[in-house]
Amino acid sequence: MNDATARKGLSSQKLLSRSRQDAKTAYAMLVPTFILLTLFALLPLGMSLFKSFTDFSFYKTPEFIGFHNYRIVLADPFFRKAVLVAFKLVFLIVPVQFVAAFLFAHLIKEMSTRIGAFVKTTIYIPLVISGIVVGAVFSFIYNYQGGILNSLLNVFGIENQAWIADSTYALYSVAAPAIWQGFGYVTLMMLAGLLDIPKDYYEAAKMDGASAFRRMVYITIPNMKNVFIFIFISGVTGALSLYEIVLMITNGGPGGETLTPVLHLVNHFNNDPTMGYTVAGAIIMAIILGSFSAVIFRIVQSDKAID
C-alpha cells in the first residue's frame, strides 16, 4: 500500500516536471512560426487597421482622421464600380463552374478506369499554371488580328471581334480563363464528395423505386451539402480577388469595365500618395473576403469534429 502511494506520488511529481518540460519545449518549437506570423501577418494587419484611420502617405507624419478614409472609399464611384465588377465576375464564373463540374463529375464516374484517370489528371493541370501565364495565353488567343479565336470564327463567317477592347465582351473574356482554370479542381472536389456517399443509399432508393431525379434530390444533394458550400464560397472569394488574369488580359479596361478591386487598389498604391485610401479599401475587401473564408473554416472544422 505504502509502496503504491509512494510510486503514485513519484509519478505525479514526474508528470509535473514532465509538463513543465513540455511547456518549455512547446514554446521553443512555436517560436519560429510565432515570430513570422506576428511580423508578417498580424503586425501588418494591425498597422493597416491603424493607418486606415489616419491620413497616412509616404511623405508626411500621419494624423488621426477617424472614418474619413472609409467614407471616401465607399463614396468613390471607381471603388464601387470595382466591387460591382467583382460581383459580376462571381456571377459569371461560379454558377457555370459549379454546374459544369457537377455534371462532369458524374460523367467521370461512368468512364472506364484508364480514361477516367487520364481525364482527372488532365483537367487538373490548368490549376498549376500561374495566373500571369494564363493571362498571357488568353490575351494571345483573343488577339484581334490573327488570334486563334477570331480565326476560328472567321471560318464560320463571323467577323473579327475585339474581345478585350469591346465592353460587350471584355468581362466574359476575363471570366472564361478563370472558369477554365478552376474547372478541374472543382470537378475533383465534386467527385470526391460523390464517391464518399455510400452506394447502399442509392441501391436502397432504387429498390424502393425512386427515380433518378428523386435520388439526386434526396440523396446526392443533401450528402454533398458541405462540398457544395465549400466550392461555392472558395469560388466566390477566388472570383472576388481576381487580379493577375485581369492585369494581363484587359488591365481593367475598357473604361474600367473589368477593373477588379484588387487591381484598383494596386493601381492606387502605385499612383497615388494617399495611402490611407488604399489601406481602407484593402480593409473593406478583407472584411468581405474574411467573412466568406470564416464560413469555409466552420465547415472544415465541423467535419473534423465528427471524424
Binding site: 518540460q21 513540455d22 519545449t25 512547446a26 518549437m29 512555436l30 519560429p32 512560426t33 513570422l36 506570423l37 508578417f40 498580424l42 503586425l43 501588418p44 494587419l45 498597422m47 493597416s48 460523367l107 467521370i108 461512368e110 468512364m111 480514361i115 481525364v119 488532365t122 483537367i123 487538373y124 493541370i125 490548368p126 498549376v128 499554371i129 500561374s130 495566373g131 500571369i132 501565364v133 498571357a136 495565353v137 494571345f140 488577339n143 488580328q145 490573327g146 488570334g147 486563334i148 476560328l152 472567321n154 477554365w180 474547372f183 478541374g184 458541405n226 462540398v227 487580379y243 493577375e244 484588387v262 494596386v266 498604391f269 489601406v279 484593402a282 478583407a286 474574411g290 472544415v300 473534423k304
Partner: protein
C-alpha cells in the same frame, strides 16, 4: 448490358473532349512558341508552324539578357524562383509541422489563446497586409533580398492546421513507449512524427511550391533587382515591353510552366488524396 456499354463509350468520348479543351490553351501556347514572328499571328490561319523553329526557345534559354534593358535573364529568374520555392517548401514544412505537433500533442499554458492567435491569420487576405507588410520589410532593409521572397510566407497556418489534423489521428501508443524510454518531446516529433508525415507533406509541399511558383504581386512590390526577378514578374515585364512578339512570350510562358506541370504529374496520385484530406464531406 449493351446500354451501359454505350453509356461508358459516350462518357469516355466526352471526357476526352473536355480533357482536350483543358489542355488546349497550353498546347496552343507551346506550338506558338515554335512559330516564326511573321507566322505567329499570320493570315490565313495555320494551326501548326510551316516549319518547327526552335530559335525562340533557344533565344529565351541562352541569351534572353538581350531582351531586357536592365539585363535580367530568363534562366536566372527560373533558377532563383525555383530556389525560393524549394527553400520555402523545406522550411515551411519543417516549421509548420513543428507547430502542428505542439498543438496536437502538448499541453501548456496559453495554448488556447495561441491557437486562436495562429488561426486568426488564416482569415487575413493578402490585399489587407501587402502595403503595411511592404513597409515592414522596407524598415527591416529586406527589400531586394532572398529573404523578402521567402520569410514572409513561411509560417502558413493552413498547413499547421491540416498537419495537426493528421497528427491527431496518429495513435498515442507509439509515443507513450518512447516517453517511457525517456525520449524528449522534440525527439519524438523528429523521429516518430516526421517520418510518418509523408502524405500530408507531399500535399502541403506541392501547394507551397505552386504558391511560390505563381507568386506575382509580392515580388513586384519588393524586388527591383533584376538578378532576383521572380519568373511571373519577368513574364509580365516581358509582355509589357515586347507585346507584339508573341512567339517569344509564348515560348517563355511554356518554359515557365514546365516545373509546376512536371511536379504535378510526379505527385498526381496524391492530388485526389489531398482533396480528400481537406476533409470536407
Amino acid at each position: 448490358m449493351n446500354e451501359s456499354r454505350k453509356a461508358r463509350y459516350i462518357a469516355n468520348l466526352i471526357g476526352i473532349f473536355v480533357a482536350l479543351i483543358a489542355l488546349f490553351p497550353l498546347i496552343w501556347m507551346t506550338i506558338s512558341g515554335f512559330k516564326k514572328r511573321e507566322e505567329v499571328l499570320s493570315f490565313p490561319f495555320r494551326f501548326f508552324p510551316k516549319e518547327w523553329n526552335f530559335q525562340n526557345y533557344v533565344d529565351i534559354i541562352m541569351n534572353s539578357t538581350s531582351f531586357f534593358p536592365d539585363g535580367a535573364s530568363f534562366m536566372t529568374s527560373m533558377f532563383v524562383t525555383f530556389g525560393v520555392a524549394v527553400f520555402c517548401v523545406i522550411f515551411s514544412l519543417l516549421l509548420n509541422s513543428m507547430a502542428a505537433y505542439v498543438f496536437a500533442r502538448l499541453e501548456f499554458p496559453f495554448k488556447k489563446f495561441l491557437w486562436l492567435y495562429y488561426m486568426l491569420t488564416m482569415f487575413i487576405p493578402g490585399i489587407a497586409i501587402y502595403i503595411t507588410g511592404f513597409m515592414i520589410v522596407d524598415m527591416l532593409n529586406m527589400t531586394n533580398t532572398f529573404w523578402v521572397l521567402t520569410l514572409p510566407g513561411l509560417a502558413y497556418v493552413w498547413s499547421v492546421f491540416f498537419v495537426r489534423q493528421f497528427y491527431l489521428n496518429i495513435p498515442m501508443a507509439l509515443e507513450e513507449a518512447a516517453l517511457l524510454d525517456g525520449a524528449t518531446r522534440f525527439r519524438i516529433y523528429w523521429s516518430i512524427f516526421l517520418p510518418l508525415s509523408v502524405p500530408p507533406f507531399v500535399i502541403m509541399g506541392m501547394n507551397v511550391f505552386l504558391g511560390y511558383w505563381s507568386a506575382f504581386l509580392w515580388p513586384v512590390m519588393t524586388i527591383s533587382d533584376p538578378s532576383l526577378y521572380q519568373i511571373n514578374q519577368l513574364l509580365m515585364f516581358f509582355k509589357a515591353q515586347r507585346n507584339t512578339e508573341w512567339q517569344y512570350i509564348m515560348a517563355g510562358a511554356s518554359i515557365a510552366s514546365v516545373p509546376p506541370i512536371v511536379l504535378m504529374l510526379m505527385f498526381q496520385k496524391y492530388i485526389i488524396q489531398g482533396i480528400k484530406l481537406s476533409g470536407i464531406k
